[in-house]
Symmetry: D3
Subunit: 116 residues, 6 copies
């Protein structure tokens, strides 16, 4: 995988590629994808945690990485994130372990700004 | 499917069947499954919502039904639950629609105790 | 499952339920879902067949049923549909067999308007 | 689901439908599907247990039911089958619980011919 | 992942490895896999597009890459391929985005022989 | 993927990371995961083969690699392992081929201690 070093850059390159070449459908989907995580009856913060767990049970490393960044930006501590990953681990089973493992690795590279 | 009328009863029957016939491994897993949703760094309430979204993207009607009951017991309004289902719908795509549809059906059968 | 007799009616009930209670996100997704199957560089006809195969490998009976109706309305013969199901069967493996079986059952209930 | 009462009959009806209407590809796949479970370096007996676990982690009730019948015909005891289901439960997580529950239900309807 | 540079070579190495070491079952499956994409009631061309969408919703980068090569060889334009990917994106949801992104990357490396 | 050279080391690093930072839930799950593969009504040997097939149909390269190592340690020959992979290939379809291919590659790097 090794998307860690350039993960944010690759994601930025995608956005540009889609803006340049993408269909109207794909652009509408990208907009809707962003809208679904905005404050509403639930906070953007809670929705981001939902996105992290959904990504983990569906076993998508890129998606997990993105939501790990976002949940930390929105102030979740490592302890809180690890408990969200626990729910994913129990729901999704041992087949999620390699992804949970890589998620722990990503967390280790980030200072826990909420103290621990 | 039609598990709606006796959903809670069937779930109760399972617990008894597992207590009677289940292996030690399955019993330990059932205990761990319950432990993962208890208050910790995240509240039990938040974890239940994570379970709902995980169940929806993995498209398990029985699991969705169970977490719909639990999230309502723990005080989430229909508006909040529908926004959680939105995240699942966007992450999981149109293939989740039949499950989201049945989830809306379950919600309609329940009074929204949080007002709406 | 037994969604066959009232499949179209239930789908209609959903549309109304979503129009009445659904979030803005879910309504936007439903609109986008319809837009993705319209004529473009590819015909609506071809896209419907793509939807059938996607639904079959992801093993969603309701989705398969819907796309079986649509592909027949758009003029695909039973022979053509069965070859599309073949691709799904080979890509998705024997785990798709119960769904392919139910798809054959749905086809049998429909006259092949393209002759056979 | 409720495929229990007529499960074997429906499966028989499928075989006839495929023999009558199926493509050459689907018939070749059905033959190959049967060949993969025959005695070889591994026994047919062991392969059937592999099929049961594969079906359980992929969460296909019809497939689980079929392999539960077959593994019992080939002499596995309920205790052995429950341990195979344990592996599926741990690998696949709590999302498999409704399927494991229904598998326990199927086992209960069958006398354990291997004693218990 | 980074299978892009040697993708075709690795695939060739596999065919040789399977021809040398593979079981009779695996060889029969490989033959059947090829047969399912040949001209019949549907053209080979259409079937290849079905394979692309099936591979995308099941999120298999190697499979997507293979079908991207094949669909272009069979004369689909980039516009047509992107609309097929749209169907996969809508059916499969945002979890397919990293794969759709890599598919766009593969397309960019290839001249659109159908003009654009 | 290229996890082959340091696969065992990375797995060891995970165990330490989980022992140091993991939640109680994750540690309990890891213990239970190991317990599920111990001798019981079925042998540890058979259970490991079940784990291999479950990992293959769920398409997790790390999990497949781990179970390939374990099944060989427990005395399964390459012929036996290839037949287990056949069951996974037939159940899971052509989408599993890239994973089966990499499994064959891992086998080739290992001497078949059971003779062939």
């Amino acid at each position: 995988m090794s998307d860690t070093p350039t993960f944010e850059e690759e994601r930025a390159r995608l956005q540009e590629l889609v803006l340049e070449k993408g269909t109207r459908t794909s652009k509408r989907f990208f907009n809707l994808d962003q809208a679904a995580y905005r404050d509403g009856a639930l906070t953007a913060r809670t929705k981001e945690l939902l996105g992290l767990v959904a990504s983990t049970v569906l076993r998508c490393d890129d998606c997990i990485h993105y939501h790990l960044n976002r949940t930390q930006e929105l102030g979740f501590s490592h302890d809180e994130i690890r408990e969200a990953l626990d729910v994913a681990l129990i729901v999704g089973g041992s087949i999620t372990i390699p992804h949970v493992r890589r998620a722990y690795g990503v967390l280790e590279e980030t200072e826990d700004r909420c103290g621990e």
